[in-house]
């Protein structure tokens, strides 16, 4: 497959304030983002957040009520899917059951009336790429779920789209196969340099595969950023809670410490967190602390700020998970377990805390 040099084309996709309504429901609400050529971009959010509608609007399956979508700098307007430089891998795959694997993959090329020899060569190449080289003559219903997944991928990629749209393509697969396909998809995207727009509700999937992620909720784009950035600096409460596990704690700012950390009060205890930049004394905000960064110790041990009691304990091998009652709050902690690590029993009094730079503030 001929590949344009990644990055040479600048912004591949420019979504400008698109809005889509279904009756009284606003499915997509003024969503804007840009995707660079060769980027693996995920739209992540719970079901009904508007991610699939956004993807379908890019592909031309939905017309937007407001805003514009530019692909390669060209406004798409009401251009139908067959005239856009995009191809879609559908959630339910939508393979043609009356065609063989070969004919499925050849469909797009034949629609472009390419000579049979070229069709044959490119289909063979695409099937080889997804490791289905010798299954061209098979019928779709003779394939396993994973194989069907690969056919759907080959059928879209064989057309060398500028942008490949993927609508939760792995959701029908079991966990093991899904993890394997994630790796393969990522590898394929790297080697082809095609821009991928990947819709998923699985935050683990998005974190593992994407160059950047757009997190959506209720039709709005909450935050766009690299996986690490979104995990470490969630822009909203929703993002903090949706990406990974998080303790979200209401707090009141007391001031800024000399080392640049925010000092805040939780109930009658004093805790610290990384600054976002706009915190002022007296402001209410939310602290986001990941369970694996919460320390649990003997009472009066280290001055960790909070005092609590163990409500529940679950041992999962590498981790010990505690549910803690801390001055009216409920905190979750995941403590790494090694031989000899002291375990606390349900009902034990413990001291609870975290390093100031391991928590982050989120607007309330």
């Amino acid at each position: 497959m001929a590949i344009g040099a990644p990055g040479a084309r600048g912004a591949d996709l420019d979504v400008q304030a698109i809005t889509k309504r279904f009756g009284a429901v606003v499915a997509v609400d003024a969503v804007s983002f840009t995707v660079r050529a060769g980027e693996f971009f995920s739209l992540l959010g719970p079901s009904g957040c508007g991610k699939t509608t956004t993807l379908r609007a890019i592909g031309g399956f939905e017309t937007v009520d407001a805003g514009e979508i530019l692909i390669g700098g060209r406004p798409m307007g009401r251009l139908p899917p067959n005239r856009r430089e995009t191809n879609m891998v559908f959630q339910r795959l939508a393979l043609f059951p009356h065609y063989s694997v070969f004919d499925n993959v050849a469909f797009g090329l034949r629609m472009r009336r390419l000579p049979a020899a070229e069709v044959g060569r490119r289909v063979a190449e695409a099937l080889g790429r997804v490791e289905l080289g010798d299954l061209g003559a098979r019928r779709i219903n003779e394939l396993s779920g994973g194989q069907q997944q690969r056919v759907a991928l080959a059928r879209a990629l064989v057309n060398e789209p500028r942008i490949l749209l993927l609508d939760e393509p792995l959701s029908a697969l079991d966990l093991k196969l899904r993890l394997q396909m994630q790796e393969e998809l990522k590898g394929l995207q790297r080697s082809l340099g095609t821009t991928f727009i990947y819709v998923t509700h699985d935050q683990g999937e998005a974190l593992a595969m994407s160059d950047r992620i757009g997190v959506m909720a209720d039709g709005r784009l909450e935050q766009v950023g690299a996986p690490l950035e979104i995990y470490e600096r969630p822009a909203t409460r929703f993002v903090a809670g949706f990406i990974g596990d998080a303790n979200l704690v209401e707090a009141v700012v007391e001031g800024i410490d000399g080392d640049g950390l925010v000092a805040a009060r939780v109930g009658d205890a004093r805790v610290r967190a990384r600054r976002r930049g706009d915190e002022r004394a007296g402001a209410r905000l939310t602290l986001c602390v990941r369970p694996e960064r919460v320390r649990v110790g003997r009472p009066g041990g280290r001055a960790d700020g909070l005092v609590g009691r163990v409500e529940d304990r679950a041992f999962s091998g590498s981790l010990v998970k505690y549910r803690l009652a801390v001055s009216g709050l409920r905190l979750h902690a995941a403590v790494p377990y090694a031989h000899g690590t002291p375990l606390f029993e349900v009902g034990d009094a413990v001291s609870v805390g975290w390093d100031g730079d391991q928590a982050v503030t989120v607007p309330a």
Binding site: F61, N82, N87, M88, A94, F96, H98, Y99, F107, A156
Partner: protein, 283 residues
């Protein structure tokens, strides 16, 4: 089908009893006549295959068979040609469930009227001075009235009309089961509306076309009232022969003709089933 338990048998019993007592037994009793001799206007109870031999060697029976098959084939083709676009429009253009229900009732309306009344209606419409001819004459499309009655045309028009719902509903139901993302996928891969229809929608709805077709074909093949009233004696089909033979007390001939009719119907169903079973592999 495996029936499990006495409860299932109990549930099936009324249908089995009805079918047996009203269909299988009388049919058997009548068909036995095919092996009796008919001589001097009387049925003689002696076993013979003469009636079958006579049917199979008589050129006239082939004429009747071919007329019957031709009529059924034309009607089926027309019903499918008119019915498919209708079903497609109903599926794609009519969005509200209410409108669909109303249209479905309208489509089935003809079936709620007695076949005799309906046929007389067609007599009025298709007569030399009927609505169709008068309109065409007024518009200057024709100069002489066309004969639409008491010939094949009239029978074909009336039968197509009445069998249309049987063509539409199987197609409509298959269209409803079609995954909408298949059409989107074709569209996404560069196919316009026309190519999407020929490459994806039509091939995948052929099972509906086949079952609609086989229903129309067997019903048209066994239609009696319409060819009787609108054919004017010029459309000799198998059911008319069965009726005439029975009235003339020539039950052996009626029975043999019935067997021919039954055999053709079964053959049609069997052939279509064979084709349908192979459909998914058709590229």
């Amino acid at each position: 089908m495996r029936v499990r338990g006495w409860f299932a048998v109990l549930l099936l019993a009324p249908v089995l009893l009805l079918t047996a007592s009203l269909y299988v037994v009388p049919l058997g009793v009548y068909l036995v006549n095919g092996f009796y001799r008919f001589k001097d206007g009387r049925i003689l109870r002696e076993w013979t295959l003469d009636t079958y031999a006579a049917f199979l060697t008589d050129a006239f029976s082939y004429k009747i068979v071919s007329t019957s098959l031709l009529l059924a084939a034309i009607v089926t083709a027309l019903a499918l040609l008119v019915g498919y676009p209708l079903a497609y429009a109903l599926h794609t253009r009519v969005r509200s469930a209410r409108a669909r229900a109303v249209l479905a009732v309208l489509l089935f309306c003809p079936l709620m009227i007695s076949v005799v009344v309906r046929t007389y209606g067609w007599l009025i419409l298709l007569a030399n001075k009927g609505l169709v001819n008068t309109t065409l004459l007024r518009l200057g499309v024709i100069e002489q009235p066309i004969r639409l009655l008491f010939n094949m045309q009239g029978v074909v028009i009336s039968l197509t009309h009445i069998l249309l719902p049987f063509a539409i509903f199987p197609i409509y139901s298959v269209l409803g089961k079609l995954d909408p993302s298949l059409k989107e996928a074709a569209h996404d891969l560069g196919a316009g509306a026309w190519a999407t229809f020929w490459k994806v929608t039509l091939p995948l709805t052929l099972p509906g076309v086949a079952s609609g077709g086989v229903i129309c074909f067997t019903l048209a093949l066994s239609a009696f009232v319409t060819p009787q009233l609108l054919g004017g004696g010029r459309v000799q089909v198998l059911p008319l022969t069965v009726y005439n033979s029975t009235v003339e007390i020539n039950w052996p001939e009626g029975a043999v003709t019935s067997v021919a009719l039954l055999a053709l119907s079964i053959l049609a169903v069997w052939a279509v089933n064979r084709v349908v079973r192979r459909l998914p592999t058709v590229a």
